[in-house]
């Protein structure tokens, strides 16, 4: 037997049409969901202003917020871990910027950089504890959730005797780094669109003649940059292969020489980075930091990622899918408002979408990976 090896052609492997091959991908659930949600609101809320310039700006800004934290949560989930401290991290980061920049009066760019350093250090700490102890990241980051939220309330109360610190916009005036998070870009282009009559302009008041939308918020730019970065990192680099491997089977990956621990810790740091970007954009927009900011954001991020086709247990997923999940989340949340639907029904809607998406995604994933 051993002396006559033969090439065995398996007649049971069916040829798959290119069309089906192009369609069957991790993002398919997210793509279908996006089309379905837009169709739904196009029918239900087409005359409500949801699809004029202001309306689009409204739901794309909300979606971009979800996208920023979803990219981090997505890569971390594919690497096999969770971070439940994202919401607390957002509150904490915003508060740190306010404390450094307003209470202590540091230049805003220093306040922002120091905040990034502190938050990413907390992310690294999450990662090191998870990797060293082997505890589930669910538990470790749940602890971080409480610790960070506690500090976010304690620190401003001790220093300022209040839990909301304002004056950030004034303190950030003219700061080069703050402008990267708070401003808008493309104003001349929007002015031109307004002049050409493509988008509406204000016809009275002290802003008369200005377009109703005067630029793309930096928040949306950040979301776009993070999605492109995350997608390329995951699918086109060696490190991306390690992310899949670390989450797919950490032990098999270690045997193949993948530095699993380093990959996981770096993904915790990246998640913290995304949370801090979110927080910085938020405090620049609101001009204040509040101790209750970011509540439940960790779950919203995880929901967006799961709608986008990632596997909760790791090793499988897509950044594009997570971004579409965030888009669905944002469009539904704002769309129901435009459609004049009672806002409490948002949760019902969200639950139904989550369930449908997960069922569809499981089906697609089984086709791709041969799970049974």
């Amino acid at each position: 037997m051993a002396d006559t090896p033969q090439a065995v052609i398996d007649e049971r492997v069916k040829d798959v049409s290119p069309w089906r091959k192009a369609l069957i991908r991790p993002e398919l659930g997210g793509i279908i969901g996006t089309v379905a949600v837009f169709t739904f609101f196009a029918l239900l809320a087409h005359d409500s202003g949801m699809f004029n310039a202001q309306g689009i700006l409204n739901w794309s800004t909300v979606s971009a917020q979800f996208m920023i934290i979803a990219v981090g949560a997505c890569l971390l989930m594919i690497a096999g871990e969770f971070d439940l401290s994202v919401g607390s991290m957002i509150g904490f980061a915003g508060m740190m910027i306010a404390i450094f920049g307003v209470t202590l009066g540091w230049p805003m760019w220093i306040a922002i950089l120091v905040t990034f350093a502190i938050c990413m250090a907390f992310g690294a700490l999450n990662g090191v504890i998870v990797v060293r102890t082997g505890l589930p990241s669910f538990i470790v980051t749940l602890a971080t959730l409480f610790i960070l939220r506690g500090f976010t309330i304690f620190i401003p109360q001790t220093l300022e005797r209040k839990t909301i610190i304002g004056g950030i916009r004034e303190a950030a005036e003219g700061d080069w780094l703050a402008a990267l998070f708070g401003g808008t870009i493309g104003r001349p282009f929007f002015q031109w669109l307004g002049d050409a009559g493509v988008i509406g302009v204000f016809d009275r008041g002290n802003r008369a003649g200005e377009p109703v939308v005067n630029g793309v918020p930096m928040l949306i730019i950040w979301a776009f940059v993070l999605i492109v970065f995350g997608h390329i990192l995951l699918t086109r680099t060696r490190f991306g292969n390690w992310i899949f491997a670390a989450g797919g089977d950490a032990q098999a990956a270690r045997y193949a020489g993948v530095p699993v621990d380093r990959v996981k810790i770096l993904m915790f740091v990246f998640t913290a980075f995304c949370a801090t970007v979110f927080a910085t954009c938020q405090v620049m927009e609101f001009g204040s930091a509040g101790a209750d900011r970011g509540l439940l954001k960790e779950f919203e991020a995880i929901i967006a990622v799961v709608i986008g086709g990632a596997l909760l247990t790791g090793g499988y997923g897509s950044v594009i899918g997570a971004a579409l999940g965030a888009l669905i989340f944002g469009v539904v949340q704002q769309g129901l408002f435009f459609a004049n639907v009672e806002s409490s029904l948002f949760r019902v809607f969200l639950g139904v979408i989550l369930l449908l998406a997960v069922i569809l995604n499981t089906y697609i994933r089984r086709i791709i990976t041969g799970e049974r």
Partner: protein, 262 residues
């Protein structure tokens, strides 16, 4: 096998103690290039400990390892892999959720620089994966097919092809056939034969005498942490091997009562 061939790995009087348990008690084995060396033994005989010593997972309590004639001391599995000793574990070989080509190059991803930035060279990875799979007799739908869609035997074959491609001189297979069906087993055995013909030494761990006899050039039996010697193909019958694995007399009576079916 000519006796003049120099062994590529030579294990001399290997002892390994775990606390008060003596897992290996003076085992000596020579592995020759291009041979399929079957390591047989019942559960608990010390097979796993022995190959883990060879692949750098365990350090021997005493004894010496020579690799290509030079004394070697592997600090960890990466040292052994770098030297050319690759191990394919039964169920830890592949990641089912990932594509064949991503698995094939896991930890050794080819890099192509675009504007100075290092990117995963998928074109190269896909091409090499398809070629290597073809040469092992596995026809993939495409390099992006997930490993989870492959059978157990095919997964072992991918893992073996991967080790060979990345320059293994010694390939240790830890019970590659124990969970497989008849047809898949013969595929893996055929793969072992192909690898051996490339001049790579194969250490084939099994407790199935029939699988061992199908491809083995030499046979070493471990029993209770000791070797009962190495026999060449033709010098020993399957029945003798079976007896040695089980420790002789006891098995003979058991086999009698089962009508010689074991």
């Amino acid at each position: 096998m000519e006796p003049t061939v120099k062994p590529i790995v030579s294990m001399k009087d290997i002892e390994k103690h775990f606390g008060s348990v003596i897992a290996l008690n003076g085992v000596s084995v020579d592995i020759l290039p291009g041979e399929c060396h079957c390591l047989l033994g019942d559960n608990g005989a010390g097979k796993s400990t022995f190959i883990k010593t060879m692949s750098g997972v365990h350090r021997p309590t005493s004894g010496e390892i020579f690799f290509e004639g030079r004394p070697m001391s592997f600090a960890d599995p990466r040292d052994a892999i770098a030297a050319g000793i690759a191990t394919v574990y039964q169920d830890l070989a592949m990641i089912p959720l990932m594509s064949v080509s991503r698995n094939f190059f896991m930890g050794n991803e080819p890099i192509r620089r675009i504007a100075g930035l290092p990117f995963f060279d998928h074109d190269l990875a896909n091409r090499v994966t398809m070629e290597e799979m073809q040469s092992m007799g596995i026809n993939l739908r495409g390099p992006d097919q997930a490993v989870g869609t492959l059978s157990g035997g095919e997964r072992q074959t991918v893992a073996i092809a991967r080790a060979v491609y990345f320059g293994a001189k010694v390939l240790i297979l830890d019970e590659p056939t124990s969970a497989l069906g008849v047809r898949q087993t013969s595929n893996v055995l055929a793969t072992i034969d192909k690898v051996r013909k490339k001049g790579i030494a194969v250490v084939f761990i099994t407790h199935n005498v029939r699988h061992a006899m199908a491809v083995g050039d030499r046979f070493t039996v471990l029993n209770r942490g000791q070797t009962l010697g190495t026999a060449e193909r033709g010098e020993i019958t399957p029945e003798e091997l079976q007896d040695m694995m089980a420790g002789g007399q006891e098995m003979a009576t058991l086999e009698g009562s089962l009508g010689g079916t074991v």
